[in-house]
């Protein structure tokens, strides 16, 4: 078969060269895209992920350290609390404290008033007494209220007799704060 081309070589070469350049540029562009998106970017991302992983691991480590410290502190706190409570109990049960209470109860008594009975249940104290006039029981109540040792003071019962004599029962609740203050 006779395939003869009368197109002068310079024309063919010209178009071929332009096409070759375009193809070459496209190939370079494609290669660059491949290098950038196929190699460099994944490597960068891998490094970033590694760094992030290390950072997270470090944070995790510091967090666990913090947690340990927190638990440790919590334990110390609990221990201290327990010690405080034991100290508080120790304080509350001391004779000095009760001496002060009793002294207060006694000194608050106005003239013409007497205490007949005294009961104590946990933090509640019941005072059984009698007085020549009901006003004196009220005075005794006020005197007790003015003392900081009691958080609550109230007349539980009043029994009127002839010749204005009155029997009373006063309920006093011990002030916890005062108890703790006294500890320190």
């Amino acid at each position: 078969m006779h395939d003869i081309n009368l197109l002068p070589t310079e024309y063919g070469r010209k178009t071929h060269t332009i096409k070759s350049i375009i193809l070459l540029l496209l190939a370079i562009f494609a290669f660059l895209l491949f290098v950038i998106f196929g190699i460099i970017n994944p490597i960068k991302k891998r490094d970033e992920y590694r760094q992030q992983k290390e950072l997270i691991q470090q944070r995790e480590h510091s967090l666990s350290e913090l947690e340990e410290k927190y638990i440790e502190d919590q334990n110390v706190l609990e221990e201290l609390h327990e010690r405080l409570e034991s100290l508080s109990d120790l304080k509350v049960s001391t004779p000095i404290y009760w001496y002060k209470i009793l002294k207060t109860i006694n000194r608050s008594l106005p003239q013409g008033t007497s205490l007949n009975q005294f009961t104590c249940d946990n933090t509640t104290i019941l005072l059984y007494g009698s007085c020549t006039h009901d006003k004196l029981s009220a005075t005794y109540l006020r005197n007790l209220k003015n003392k900081t040792y009691f958080s609550e003071v109230r007349i539980e019962k009043l029994i009127y007799h002839q010749n204005d004599k009155v029997d009373f029962i006063i309920r006093c609740v011990l002030n916890q704060n005062t108890m703790e203050d006294d500890h320190y």
Binding site: D3, I4, N5, L7, P8, H16
Partner: protein, 303 residues
Amino acid sequence: MALFSKRLLSIDMGNHSVKIIEAQRKPDFRILKYGIYPAELFTKSSRKYRILKGLGYRTRDSIISFHHHSLLMRTLSLPISRDVSAHELIQEIIREYEIDFKEDFDFGYSLISTHIDFGYIRATTAALAKRINRMYIQKADDLGLRLKSIAVQVCSVQKIVDKYIKPPYILIDIGHSNTTIGVIGTVDIMAKVLDKGVIQIKNDYKDSKQFSKELITTCHNLLDAFYHIYPNEAVTQGIIYGGGSYFLNAKKSFCENKDVSINWHEPQEFRHFIENIPEDMDLNLFINCLGSILKSDVREGEM
């Protein structure tokens, strides 16, 4: 994308009409669009670059072909040389033609065979007046075409005819202003282009007679030359085509001529041998165009 397009235009740039086929070659050869247009359409427009797009052709990659009486076809025997390439040897011979014809030529060639024992190679060469070739290249450039090849029409047609007829055979392409006569041998091609065509036939009866006579004479001369080189080959088949064959009723006039005893065919007879040819495509007119696009010298890399 045009850069990777597998489409190709084949344009037969006639003086009277321009035949165009747009085809895809891969994966299967398929004609996508074709048409025949008056040559004036491509010469008078001020926006030539847009004409093909306007006609609906999508690719710019193209093969053009045309016939001109300045075409010289020779089969050359070249001495094998270590120092000088076949191309340089052919170039040297073309230079001699240029001196003889007082004309610069563009040329192409096809190596036929190598005979190392006898120390020569054979090549079919085609040379065309440079000014004519460059004029057509300029025309193609004006139309915005990307030229892949300038086909020699006789060689293009051979691609189709060889499927139907075994060489040797004779081809006669009667165009508007030029007529090509070629003898296709088993290895060689001999061709001559006359600067006469339909335009002479149209004028008057005398001219028509004269033209027929000249055609027959040229056929005889070519056949004589062929038989001189290949005395054992008998040319018994012939094909007449081209727009002029309708005007001249060439087949009939050649059949009546007892001096040229050849069995004449028309290209329409070959259509069954070519796949995917539109039914209404007149091969008589499109055979050059079709042959060019079926030629195998446009390599994939150039597409």
